[in-house]
Symmetry: C2
Subunit: 232 residues, 2 copies
DNA sequence: CGGCGCATCGGTGTATGCAATTATGCCTGA
DNA sequence: TCAGGCATAATTGCATACACCGATGCGCCG
């Protein structure tokens, strides 16, 4: 996993609230905490051996990430996005990734291009061995390399956040028969386009990769045409 | 300001922390609190007539929005984005708005199209009277109508958040001579494309509107080509 | 027998106090 | 005069205590 330097993330020592937030996020993303589970402050405090205060802070930190939903005076629960919301997020993620790929095609340094190539090559082995777990992890790293290559930290933040929120609902996605192989083939097309510096092609390839071609796009917009939004 | 209904946002009664957070955000966006200003917990508590606890929560709520930066054990300050980060955010915002415009062109209901038309027409008057303040507010509403018309709540959230973070740095943007007129003309092109259902044109128009044409795009990517990211 | 009101209870929102860490100023020594 | 170290002070992190709100269950009345 390419973690560049040790200190670009200013975390001298994580505070208790951060630790709890990280653990909760981990548990939610991994699916250990299922959507709808109520998150009792006192209970979590006992579990983590602290008082309620850090727990509260952790929950408040997680709320804006969308992983938990907190209603004033009514407590917090693991977020339960409806299908509409999930579709929205997939659509947005496809575009964010497309943008990242396009920027990467234009802005990646030679070193970064080599790193992407290397990561892609490493994943070929996992496909051959049908190692889903390893591929899943490597896949995250692959897309992260794209974000880094885009040289746009804000874009990376948004994409990473969106990806995280969708993670619990994509867990089984790679389990489908030969999904690994197709995923890897699509990656190949993306890498090629990026190495060629073809931003438009890279963006198009990644939209396909996420599973949203232009047609799906229009269809989804059509499906959402009915008035009234699910949320403000 | 078109605030649709009163209760889609589940805020039965804002808690103190939320109130303080809202006020701080308002002050920062409006420029009353300048970047770099230290936000002392005790001081804010005295100012708002509460204890430190709600203030702490407010600061923690604001941190993920990017309006304030909190360092563990070192307090909070009003965020001070460097120019690189601002450029990144402008780039992302242009794409988010382009996506919203494209979706709106496909998905807007007739009622929403009429509403957009009406808003656009109303803004013509403000241009004629050179009422910058009114135009600024109406402009926010205009873009918000686009987000609503896209029928994608998540996209709307991201766009709104990004727009808010950039607000302090766009304050003087409309002050330029005849900027109102040009802005309104660009809006006209956007509205036309949307009414025609031409998603691609709408997206292109809005990129121009934000001030980032394809060329600028490539140039910006070029400028950012040097290795090393400002943040993780 | 069913609907309504009320009391109890669980849980969050807020206040206050203490401990730990960081920042600041002074003093000492070269 | 300036650099370095130490003590003091200020501020944050965390724990505890209390008050208020919302939810659930029972009993009463119609």
């Amino acid at each position: 996993m390419p973690r560049s330097r040790a200190s670009p993330t200013p975390k001298p020592r994580p505070t208790r609230a951060e630790a709890i937030a990280a653990k909760l996020a981990e548990d939610i993303v991994a699916g250990r905490l299922k959507p709808g589970t109520p998150l009792d402050e006192a209970g979590l405090a006992r579990t983590h051996g602290t008082s309620r205060t850090p727990v509260r802070e952790a929950l408040r930190q997680l709320a804006p990430t969308g992983l938990v939903q907190v209603s004033p005076r009514r407590g917090a629960v693991v977020a339960i996005p409806d299908t509409t919301q999930l579709a929205e997020m997939f659509l947005v993620m496809a575009e964010l990734e497309a943008m990242a790929a396009a920027l990467a095609a234009l802005a990646m340094t030679p070193e970064e291009r080599r790193g992407l190539e290397r990561q892609h090559a490493a994943m070929a082995v996992m496909v051959r061995e049908a190692d889903v777990a390893a591929y899943r992890a490597a896949n995250v790293a692959f897309h992260h390399l794209l974000y880094l290559g885009a040289h746009n930290g804000y874009l990376g933040e948004l994409a990473t956040a969106t990806r995280r929120r969708l993670a619990p609902f994509r867990a089984a996605q790679l389990e489908a028969p030969d999904r690994l192989g197709r995923s890897h083939a699509e990656h190949a097309a993306i890498v090629t386009a990026i190495q060629r510096g073809d931003a438009a092609a890279a963006a198009a390839m990644i939209r396909t990769h996420i599973g949203l071609t232009g047609q799906t796009w229009a269809a989804m917009a059509e499906a959402l045409r009915r008035p009234g939004l699910p949320e403000k």
